[in-house]
Subunit: 168 residues, 2 copies
DNA sequence: GTCCTTGTTTTGAATTACTCAAAATAAGAC
DNA sequence: GTCTTATTTTGAGTAATTCAAAACAAGGAC
Protein backbone atom coordinates (compact mmCIF):
# COMPACT_ATOMS: atom_id res chain seq x y z
CA UNK A 1 0.00 0.00 0.00
CA UNK A 2 1.15 3.58 0.37
CA UNK A 3 3.87 5.04 -1.79
CA UNK A 4 2.86 5.90 -5.21
CA UNK A 5 6.32 7.31 -5.63
CA UNK A 6 7.35 9.32 -8.57
CA UNK A 7 10.21 7.58 -10.09
CA UNK A 8 13.97 7.98 -10.13
CA UNK A 9 15.58 6.18 -13.08
CA UNK A 10 16.49 3.11 -11.01
CA UNK A 11 13.06 2.26 -9.82
CA UNK A 12 11.58 2.62 -13.28
CA UNK A 13 13.67 -0.04 -14.98
CA UNK A 14 15.10 -2.45 -12.43
CA UNK A 15 13.06 -5.67 -12.45
CA UNK A 16 13.15 -6.07 -8.68
CA UNK A 17 12.02 -2.51 -8.19
CA UNK A 18 9.23 -3.02 -10.71
CA UNK A 19 8.19 -6.22 -8.99
CA UNK A 20 8.15 -4.43 -5.66
CA UNK A 21 5.92 -1.68 -6.90
CA UNK A 22 3.49 -4.23 -8.30
CA UNK A 23 3.46 -6.15 -5.04
CA UNK A 24 3.12 -2.91 -3.12
CA UNK A 25 -0.03 -2.22 -5.08
CA UNK A 26 -1.47 -5.49 -3.85
CA UNK A 27 -1.09 -7.32 -7.13
CA UNK A 28 0.69 -10.49 -8.08
CA UNK A 29 3.93 -10.17 -9.97
CA UNK A 30 3.80 -11.75 -13.40
CA UNK A 31 5.90 -11.59 -16.51
CA UNK A 32 3.34 -9.66 -18.58
CA UNK A 33 3.00 -7.12 -15.79
CA UNK A 34 6.71 -6.57 -15.54
CA UNK A 35 6.95 -6.28 -19.29
CA UNK A 36 4.17 -3.70 -19.49
CA UNK A 37 5.73 -1.64 -16.75
CA UNK A 38 9.08 -1.73 -18.48
CA UNK A 39 7.60 -0.86 -21.84
CA UNK A 40 5.87 2.09 -20.21
CA UNK A 41 9.16 3.26 -18.81
CA UNK A 42 10.52 3.35 -22.33
CA UNK A 43 7.58 5.12 -23.92
CA UNK A 44 5.72 6.93 -21.20
CA UNK A 45 2.53 7.62 -23.17
CA UNK A 46 1.51 4.46 -24.95
CA UNK A 47 -1.65 2.84 -26.23
CA UNK A 48 -2.53 -0.69 -25.23
CA UNK A 49 -1.67 -1.73 -28.74
CA UNK A 50 1.77 -0.17 -28.66
CA UNK A 51 2.50 -1.79 -25.32
CA UNK A 52 1.26 -5.08 -26.68
CA UNK A 53 3.72 -4.83 -29.56
CA UNK A 54 6.52 -3.96 -27.21
CA UNK A 55 5.70 -6.70 -24.73
CA UNK A 56 5.51 -9.24 -27.52
CA UNK A 57 9.17 -8.86 -28.43
CA UNK A 58 10.20 -10.25 -25.07
CA UNK A 59 7.16 -12.33 -24.29
CA UNK A 60 5.79 -13.66 -27.56
CA UNK A 61 3.02 -15.63 -25.92
CA UNK A 62 1.29 -12.60 -24.47
CA UNK A 63 -2.19 -11.71 -25.65
CA UNK A 64 -3.59 -8.28 -26.27
CA UNK A 65 -6.30 -8.97 -23.74
CA UNK A 66 -3.66 -9.67 -21.16
CA UNK A 67 -2.24 -6.23 -21.79
CA UNK A 68 -5.69 -4.71 -21.39
CA UNK A 69 -6.09 -6.69 -18.19
CA UNK A 70 -2.73 -5.58 -16.84
CA UNK A 71 -3.48 -1.97 -17.62
CA UNK A 72 -6.92 -2.14 -16.02
CA UNK A 73 -5.47 -3.67 -12.87
CA UNK A 74 -2.62 -1.16 -12.76
CA UNK A 75 -4.92 1.78 -13.27
CA UNK A 76 -7.37 0.59 -10.66
CA UNK A 77 -4.48 0.13 -8.24
CA UNK A 78 -3.11 3.59 -8.96
CA UNK A 79 0.05 2.27 -10.53
CA UNK A 80 -0.70 3.80 -13.89
CA UNK A 81 -2.93 6.52 -15.17
CA UNK A 82 -5.13 6.41 -18.21
CA UNK A 83 -5.60 9.46 -20.39
CA UNK A 84 -7.87 9.73 -23.38
CA UNK A 85 -7.06 12.64 -25.64
CA UNK A 86 -9.78 13.33 -28.17
CA UNK A 87 -9.33 11.40 -31.35
CA UNK A 88 -6.81 8.89 -30.11
CA UNK A 89 -6.93 5.58 -28.33
CA UNK A 90 -6.38 5.62 -24.58
CA UNK A 91 -2.83 6.28 -23.42
CA UNK A 92 -1.23 5.00 -20.25
CA UNK A 93 1.51 6.51 -18.16
CA UNK A 94 3.36 5.65 -14.99
CA UNK A 95 3.58 9.16 -13.66
CA UNK A 96 0.77 9.18 -11.14
CA UNK A 97 -0.21 10.87 -7.93
CA UNK A 98 0.82 14.31 -9.00
CA UNK A 99 -1.48 16.64 -10.74
CA UNK A 100 0.08 17.08 -14.14
CA UNK A 101 -1.36 17.67 -17.55
CA UNK A 102 -0.58 16.97 -21.18
CA UNK A 103 0.15 18.68 -24.42
CA UNK A 104 -0.68 16.88 -27.62
CA UNK A 105 0.75 17.68 -31.03
CA UNK A 106 -2.07 18.35 -33.46
CA UNK A 107 0.12 17.22 -36.31
CA UNK A 108 1.81 14.02 -35.17
CA UNK A 109 -0.01 13.14 -31.98
CA UNK A 110 3.04 13.19 -29.75
CA UNK A 111 2.22 13.71 -26.08
CA UNK A 112 4.34 15.44 -23.44
CA UNK A 113 3.75 16.06 -19.77
CA UNK A 114 3.05 19.58 -18.64
CA UNK A 115 3.28 20.66 -15.06
CA UNK A 116 0.51 22.63 -13.58
CA UNK A 117 0.25 26.14 -14.90
CA UNK A 118 -1.02 27.54 -11.64
CA UNK A 119 0.80 25.86 -8.78
CA UNK A 120 -0.02 22.49 -7.38
CA UNK A 121 -3.79 22.38 -7.71
CA UNK A 122 -4.51 24.58 -10.67
CA UNK A 123 -7.65 25.28 -12.49
CA UNK A 124 -9.20 23.28 -9.72
CA UNK A 125 -11.48 26.18 -8.95
CA UNK A 126 -13.86 27.10 -11.72
CA UNK A 127 -15.68 30.33 -10.95
CA UNK A 128 -19.07 28.76 -11.23
CA UNK A 129 -19.22 25.01 -10.96
CA UNK A 130 -23.02 24.94 -11.09
CA UNK A 131 -23.10 23.38 -7.66
CA UNK A 132 -20.86 20.48 -8.58
CA UNK A 133 -18.46 19.21 -5.92
CA UNK A 134 -15.30 19.44 -7.96
CA UNK A 135 -12.91 16.52 -7.56
CA UNK A 136 -10.38 17.02 -10.29
CA UNK A 137 -9.38 19.23 -13.16
CA UNK A 138 -7.84 17.86 -16.28
CA UNK A 139 -6.12 20.09 -18.78
CA UNK A 140 -5.20 19.14 -22.30
CA UNK A 141 -3.15 21.53 -24.36
CA UNK A 142 -3.07 21.26 -28.12
CA UNK A 143 -0.26 22.60 -30.21
CA UNK A 144 2.55 21.84 -32.63
CA UNK A 145 5.59 20.02 -31.31
CA UNK A 146 9.12 21.28 -32.02
CA UNK A 147 9.78 18.62 -34.64
CA UNK A 148 6.62 19.39 -36.56
CA UNK A 149 7.31 23.11 -36.31
CA UNK A 150 10.58 22.53 -38.10
CA UNK A 151 9.00 20.32 -40.70
CA UNK A 152 6.30 22.87 -41.34
CA UNK A 153 8.78 25.72 -41.58
CA UNK A 154 11.02 23.75 -43.93
CA UNK A 155 8.03 23.80 -46.20
CA UNK A 156 8.22 20.11 -46.24
CA UNK A 157 4.79 21.37 -45.45
CA UNK A 158 2.31 18.97 -46.79
CA UNK A 159 -1.22 19.30 -45.51
CA UNK A 160 -0.90 19.32 -41.73
CA UNK A 161 -2.83 16.45 -40.27
CA UNK A 162 -4.62 18.57 -37.71
CA UNK A 163 -5.56 15.85 -35.34
CA UNK A 164 -8.98 17.22 -34.61
CA UNK A 165 -8.93 20.27 -32.48
CA UNK A 166 -9.66 23.46 -34.32
CA UNK A 167 -12.33 22.67 -36.80
CA UNK A 168 -13.05 19.16 -37.93
CA UNK B 1 -46.13 34.86 -38.52
CA UNK B 2 -45.62 37.64 -35.98
CA UNK B 3 -44.79 36.86 -32.43
CA UNK B 4 -44.60 33.34 -31.30
CA UNK B 5 -44.37 33.63 -27.52
CA UNK B 6 -41.13 34.40 -25.83
CA UNK B 7 -40.82 30.95 -24.34
CA UNK B 8 -37.81 29.44 -26.12
CA UNK B 9 -34.87 31.71 -26.93
CA UNK B 10 -35.75 32.79 -30.40
CA UNK B 11 -32.57 32.13 -32.26
CA UNK B 12 -32.01 28.70 -30.79
CA UNK B 13 -35.45 27.27 -31.52
CA UNK B 14 -37.14 29.22 -34.30
CA UNK B 15 -36.99 27.17 -37.51
CA UNK B 16 -36.24 30.19 -39.69
CA UNK B 17 -33.44 31.27 -37.41
CA UNK B 18 -32.03 27.76 -37.40
CA UNK B 19 -32.24 27.60 -41.17
CA UNK B 20 -30.49 30.92 -41.43
CA UNK B 21 -27.61 29.82 -39.29
CA UNK B 22 -27.19 26.69 -41.37
CA UNK B 23 -27.24 28.68 -44.58
CA UNK B 24 -24.87 31.21 -43.08
CA UNK B 25 -22.43 28.38 -42.50
CA UNK B 26 -22.53 27.60 -46.20
CA UNK B 27 -24.60 24.48 -45.88
CA UNK B 28 -27.86 23.40 -47.39
CA UNK B 29 -30.89 23.46 -45.17
CA UNK B 30 -32.45 20.05 -44.73
CA UNK B 31 -34.96 18.50 -42.38
CA UNK B 32 -32.41 16.32 -40.58
CA UNK B 33 -30.17 19.31 -40.03
CA UNK B 34 -32.94 21.41 -38.59
CA UNK B 35 -33.98 18.52 -36.39
CA UNK B 36 -30.47 17.97 -35.06
CA UNK B 37 -30.06 21.65 -34.30
CA UNK B 38 -33.35 21.71 -32.49
CA UNK B 39 -32.57 18.58 -30.53
CA UNK B 40 -29.28 20.14 -29.51
CA UNK B 41 -31.10 23.19 -28.27
CA UNK B 42 -33.11 20.97 -26.00
CA UNK B 43 -30.20 18.92 -24.68
CA UNK B 44 -27.08 20.93 -25.18
CA UNK B 45 -24.59 18.09 -24.60
CA UNK B 46 -25.71 15.07 -26.55
CA UNK B 47 -24.21 12.04 -28.18
CA UNK B 48 -24.92 11.24 -31.81
CA UNK B 49 -27.06 8.40 -30.60
CA UNK B 50 -29.14 10.56 -28.32
CA UNK B 51 -29.67 13.07 -31.09
CA UNK B 52 -30.59 10.28 -33.44
CA UNK B 53 -33.27 9.10 -31.02
CA UNK B 54 -34.58 12.62 -30.63
CA UNK B 55 -34.59 13.34 -34.36
CA UNK B 56 -36.39 10.09 -35.05
CA UNK B 57 -39.48 11.14 -33.16
CA UNK B 58 -40.13 13.92 -35.66
CA UNK B 59 -38.41 12.46 -38.67
CA UNK B 60 -38.76 8.69 -38.50
CA UNK B 61 -36.96 8.07 -41.75
CA UNK B 62 -33.67 9.52 -40.59
CA UNK B 63 -30.66 7.27 -40.37
CA UNK B 64 -27.98 7.29 -37.72
CA UNK B 65 -25.39 7.87 -40.39
CA UNK B 66 -27.26 10.97 -41.45
CA UNK B 67 -26.93 12.28 -37.91
CA UNK B 68 -23.22 11.56 -37.94
CA UNK B 69 -23.00 13.31 -41.27
CA UNK B 70 -24.90 16.33 -40.06
CA UNK B 71 -22.73 16.60 -36.98
CA UNK B 72 -19.53 16.27 -38.97
CA UNK B 73 -20.66 18.99 -41.36
CA UNK B 74 -21.79 21.25 -38.53
CA UNK B 75 -18.58 20.79 -36.60
CA UNK B 76 -16.42 21.41 -39.67
CA UNK B 77 -18.44 24.54 -40.36
CA UNK B 78 -18.08 25.77 -36.80
CA UNK B 79 -21.77 25.48 -36.09
CA UNK B 80 -21.29 22.91 -33.38
CA UNK B 81 -18.44 21.77 -31.22
CA UNK B 82 -17.46 18.22 -30.44
CA UNK B 83 -16.18 17.27 -27.01
CA UNK B 84 -14.94 13.87 -25.96
CA UNK B 85 -14.84 13.39 -22.20
CA UNK B 86 -12.94 10.29 -21.17
CA UNK B 87 -15.09 7.24 -20.99
CA UNK B 88 -18.04 8.56 -22.90
CA UNK B 89 -19.04 8.83 -26.51
CA UNK B 90 -18.47 12.16 -28.22
CA UNK B 91 -20.82 14.96 -27.19
CA UNK B 92 -21.94 17.85 -29.32
CA UNK B 93 -22.94 21.35 -28.34
CA UNK B 94 -24.07 24.51 -30.07
CA UNK B 95 -22.18 26.91 -27.85
CA UNK B 96 -19.15 27.66 -29.98
CA UNK B 97 -16.64 30.38 -30.55
CA UNK B 98 -16.14 31.20 -26.93
CA UNK B 99 -13.55 29.52 -24.86
CA UNK B 100 -15.54 27.60 -22.31
CA UNK B 101 -14.99 24.34 -20.55
CA UNK B 102 -16.99 21.50 -19.01
CA UNK B 103 -17.65 19.77 -15.77
CA UNK B 104 -18.71 16.15 -15.85
CA UNK B 105 -20.48 14.32 -13.05
CA UNK B 106 -18.47 11.25 -12.12
CA UNK B 107 -21.61 9.55 -10.94
CA UNK B 108 -24.23 10.17 -13.59
CA UNK B 109 -22.26 11.63 -16.47
CA UNK B 110 -24.17 14.89 -16.66
CA UNK B 111 -22.23 17.68 -18.33
CA UNK B 112 -22.44 21.41 -17.64
CA UNK B 113 -20.64 24.35 -19.16
CA UNK B 114 -18.05 26.14 -17.10
CA UNK B 115 -16.74 29.54 -17.97
CA UNK B 116 -13.07 30.12 -17.92
CA UNK B 117 -11.61 30.18 -14.45
CA UNK B 118 -8.82 32.56 -15.34
CA UNK B 119 -10.15 35.21 -17.66
CA UNK B 120 -10.75 34.76 -21.33
CA UNK B 121 -7.83 32.61 -22.38
CA UNK B 122 -7.05 30.60 -19.30
CA UNK B 123 -4.49 28.02 -18.71
CA UNK B 124 -3.50 28.82 -22.26
CA UNK B 125 0.02 29.36 -21.00
CA UNK B 126 1.61 26.30 -19.48
CA UNK B 127 4.83 27.16 -17.72
CA UNK B 128 6.85 24.75 -19.76
CA UNK B 129 5.31 23.61 -23.01
CA UNK B 130 8.40 21.68 -24.05
CA UNK B 131 8.78 23.89 -27.09
CA UNK B 132 5.28 23.23 -28.36
CA UNK B 133 3.47 26.08 -30.09
CA UNK B 134 0.33 26.03 -28.00
CA UNK B 135 -2.89 26.51 -29.92
CA UNK B 136 -5.59 25.68 -27.42
CA UNK B 137 -6.24 24.57 -23.90
CA UNK B 138 -9.10 22.33 -22.98
CA UNK B 139 -10.19 21.91 -19.39
CA UNK B 140 -12.41 19.17 -18.08
CA UNK B 141 -13.54 19.26 -14.48
CA UNK B 142 -14.76 16.14 -12.78
CA UNK B 143 -17.06 16.19 -9.79
CA UNK B 144 -20.42 15.27 -8.36
CA UNK B 145 -23.48 17.12 -9.59
CA UNK B 146 -26.00 18.61 -7.16
CA UNK B 147 -28.54 15.87 -7.78
CA UNK B 148 -26.06 13.10 -7.12
CA UNK B 149 -24.81 14.89 -4.03
CA UNK B 150 -28.28 14.76 -2.63
CA UNK B 151 -28.76 11.15 -3.57
CA UNK B 152 -25.44 10.25 -1.99
CA UNK B 153 -26.22 12.18 1.17
CA UNK B 154 -29.66 10.62 1.46
CA UNK B 155 -27.74 7.40 1.77
CA UNK B 156 -29.70 6.20 -1.14
CA UNK B 157 -26.02 5.68 -1.52
CA UNK B 158 -25.51 2.62 -3.48
CA UNK B 159 -22.07 2.12 -4.93
CA UNK B 160 -21.28 5.33 -6.77
CA UNK B 161 -20.71 4.62 -10.42
CA UNK B 162 -17.50 6.62 -10.58
CA UNK B 163 -17.43 7.17 -14.27
CA UNK B 164 -13.72 6.65 -14.57
CA UNK B 165 -11.68 9.47 -13.25
CA UNK B 166 -10.02 8.72 -9.95
CA UNK B 167 -9.17 5.11 -10.08
CA UNK B 168 -10.81 2.80 -12.52
C1' DG C 1 9.38 -28.82 -1.63
C1' DT C 2 4.46 -29.70 -2.70
C1' DC C 3 -0.30 -28.54 -2.58
C1' DC C 4 -4.12 -25.39 -2.95
C1' DT C 5 -6.50 -21.33 -3.44
C1' DT C 6 -7.39 -17.55 -5.99
C1' DG C 7 -5.81 -14.07 -9.06
C1' DT C 8 -4.19 -13.83 -13.87
C1' DT C 9 -3.88 -14.98 -18.64
C1' DT C 10 -5.45 -17.30 -22.78
C1' DT C 11 -8.76 -18.17 -26.14
C1' DG C 12 -12.60 -16.93 -28.55
C1' DA C 13 -16.29 -13.99 -29.29
C1' DA C 14 -19.15 -9.76 -28.78
C1' DT C 15 -19.96 -4.81 -28.45
C1' DT C 16 -19.77 0.09 -28.98
C1' DA C 17 -18.85 4.10 -31.46
C1' DC C 18 -17.83 5.44 -35.55
C1' DT C 19 -16.32 5.52 -40.64
C1' DC C 20 -16.49 4.37 -45.62
C1' DA C 21 -18.67 3.99 -50.17
C1' DA C 22 -22.07 3.50 -53.74
C1' DA C 23 -26.61 4.50 -55.10
C1' DA C 24 -30.80 7.26 -54.42
C1' DT C 25 -32.57 11.71 -53.32
C1' DA C 26 -33.48 16.53 -52.93
C1' DA C 27 -31.70 21.84 -52.23
C1' DG C 28 -31.18 25.62 -54.43
C1' DA C 29 -29.13 28.16 -58.60
C1' DC C 30 -30.62 28.89 -63.17
C1' DG D 1 -39.16 23.08 -64.38
C1' DT D 2 -34.39 21.54 -65.02
C1' DC D 3 -29.89 20.55 -63.63
C1' DT D 4 -25.96 20.25 -60.70
C1' DT D 5 -24.16 18.79 -56.69
C1' DA D 6 -24.58 18.41 -51.74
C1' DT D 7 -26.91 15.34 -48.69
C1' DT D 8 -29.00 11.16 -47.13
C1' DT D 9 -29.93 6.25 -47.35
C1' DT D 10 -28.48 1.67 -47.47
C1' DG D 11 -25.28 -1.65 -46.47
C1' DA D 12 -21.00 -2.94 -44.87
C1' DG D 13 -16.52 -2.47 -42.38
C1' DT D 14 -13.18 -1.16 -38.74
C1' DA D 15 -10.78 0.08 -34.43
C1' DA D 16 -10.71 -0.03 -29.66
C1' DT D 17 -12.25 -2.20 -26.06
C1' DT D 18 -14.93 -5.50 -23.16
C1' DC D 19 -16.93 -10.00 -21.70
C1' DA D 20 -16.72 -14.88 -20.29
C1' DA D 21 -15.20 -19.54 -19.74
C1' DA D 22 -11.40 -22.45 -19.33
C1' DA D 23 -6.41 -23.08 -18.57
C1' DC D 24 -2.74 -21.61 -15.86
C1' DA D 25 0.48 -19.98 -12.26
C1' DA D 26 1.83 -16.88 -7.93
C1' DG D 27 2.52 -17.17 -3.49
C1' DG D 28 0.85 -18.60 1.09
C1' DA D 29 -0.05 -23.00 3.74
C1' DC D 30 1.59 -27.21 4.97
Amino acid sequence: MTSTEVSPPETTHRPEALADSIRAAGLRVTAPRLAVLLALAESPHSTADRLFASVRTDLPGTSLQAVYGVLAAFTAAGLTRKIEPSGSAALFERRVGDNHHHIVCTRCGTVRDVDCAVGAAPCLTPEDASGFAVQAAEVTYWGVCPTCQVELATTLSSAPLLLNKGAR
